[in-house]
């Protein structure tokens, strides 16, 4: 059986789900569960076997105050509304197993999560820059990121030069 209710029941029975770490309702999906980060690849395989397609992977910065990245995987079927959301609370220091072997669509999504947040995915064949120029060192979508280093392509080079440190106010000339 591959209805959303059946799949999440199987996820619960196999012990892949965890209780919600925080009260944060998810609307727009028929079912949503919190999945243990180490078990996400197993869960994805179940969705693949049940003919669900990989809809999206979103990373949310929850470092302040929880110290984790929230990864939201959504799966759907080609038919009646069947969206299932699997939410993973991934600690900053441990890599998440990759699901790109199960779903080809996860490949680029995981690369994007890495380059914008710094989440690492264990077993990913090519975890490198996708949208940003190669060699970019900052992680733009982190909440702590506010401005990039100045470059020749932005206005910071046109800022007026700071007055010299020993400038005195002219005494009424």
């Amino acid at each position: 059986m591959s209805a959303p209710a059946d799949i999440v029941r199987t996820l619960d029975e196999l012990g892949l789900t965890v209780p919600a770490p925080v009260e944060h309702p998810f609307t727009g999906a028929v079912e949503s569960r919190w999945v243990a980060p180490d078990q996400i690849a197993v869960a994805c395989q179940m969705f693949r076997d049940a003919d669900y397609f990989f809809e999206s992977l979103t990373c949310v910065d929850r470092i302040a105050p929880h110290g984790v990245f929230e990864l939201i995987y959504t799966f759907n079927r080609w038919g009646l509304p069947s969206r299932v959301a699997c939410r993973v609370w991934a600690p900053q220091d441990r890599p998440v197993p990759t699901v790109s072997g199960v779903f080809g669509g996860a490949d680029w999504n995981e690369r994007e999560a890495w380059e914008f947040y710094g989440v690492s995915f264990a077993g990913h064949p090519n975890l490198t820059w996708l949208l940003l120029p190669e060699g970019t060192e900052f992680r733009p979508l982190l909440k702590t990121f506010t401005a990039p280093p100045p470059s020749e392509y932005d206005d910071s080079l046109d800022a007026p030069p700071a007055p010299p440190a020993d400038a005195q106010a002219a005494p009424g000339h």
Binding site: L132, P133, P140, P148, E152, Y153, D154
Partner: protein, 180 residues
């Protein structure tokens, strides 16, 4: 003419005499410097590089399509930079793309001109905000631009006005006489 010889009688005309000659001959003949003639040819036959980056590219293509026809102004799009003399920068310039654009600009042979179309290429447009990390705040940061066409996106008529302005700049005169 040997030094010390008798002058033959044909001296080089001064500028004033040239102007008088041009005026008298004008119903039948136009006199101009060779460079002016070349500029006339260059202005009336600007071959643009097909180079759309984002939304403005669609309005540029609409300007080249049937209703707003750029071909009647001589503008004809070429895919290779070696065969183009006009680069219309249409769309936001991301920092990953800026070196590519500079390379293409360098590959175009002289004389060449650039029109920066849309707010994004003039100053960053709607994507400029404090802390932006992804775009280049205007094409003038890294290459010379001749005409700016503002808009988001500018209408095809606005792009045509920009091209006519560039023609005016090249040949120092207008294609269509100003009314009144």
């Amino acid at each position: 003419m040997a030094d010390g010889g008798v002058p033959v009688g044909l001296a080089s005309p001064t500028d004033q005499e040239l102007e008088r000659l041009a005026e008298e001959a004008s119903p039948f003949l136009r006199l101009a410097k060779a460079e002016d003639v070349f500029n006339l040819a260059r202005a009336n036959s600007l071959w643009g590089l097909t180079f759309g980056l984002a939304c403005c590219a669609i309005e540029m293509m609409a300007a080249g399509a049937a209703r707003y026809d750029l071909d009647r102004f001589g503008v004809f799009f070429r895919p290779s930079p070696r065969q183009a003399d006009l680069m219309i920068l249409a769309g936001t310039i991301s920092r990953k793309m800026a070196p590519v654009i500079k390379t293409l600009w360098d590959q175009m042979p002289e004389p060449k001109w650039a029109i920066s179309m849309g707010g994004c290429t003039i100053s960053g447009g709607p994507f400029k905000y404090p802390g932006e990390y992804a775009i280049s705040e205007g094409a003038e940061k890294f290459m010379p631009i001749d005409v700016h066409v503002p808009g988001c996106p500018p209408r095809p008529e606005a792009l045509i006005a920009g091209i006519l302005k560039l023609e005016e700049k090249i040949k120092q005169g207008r294609r269509f006489e100003r009314a009144g």
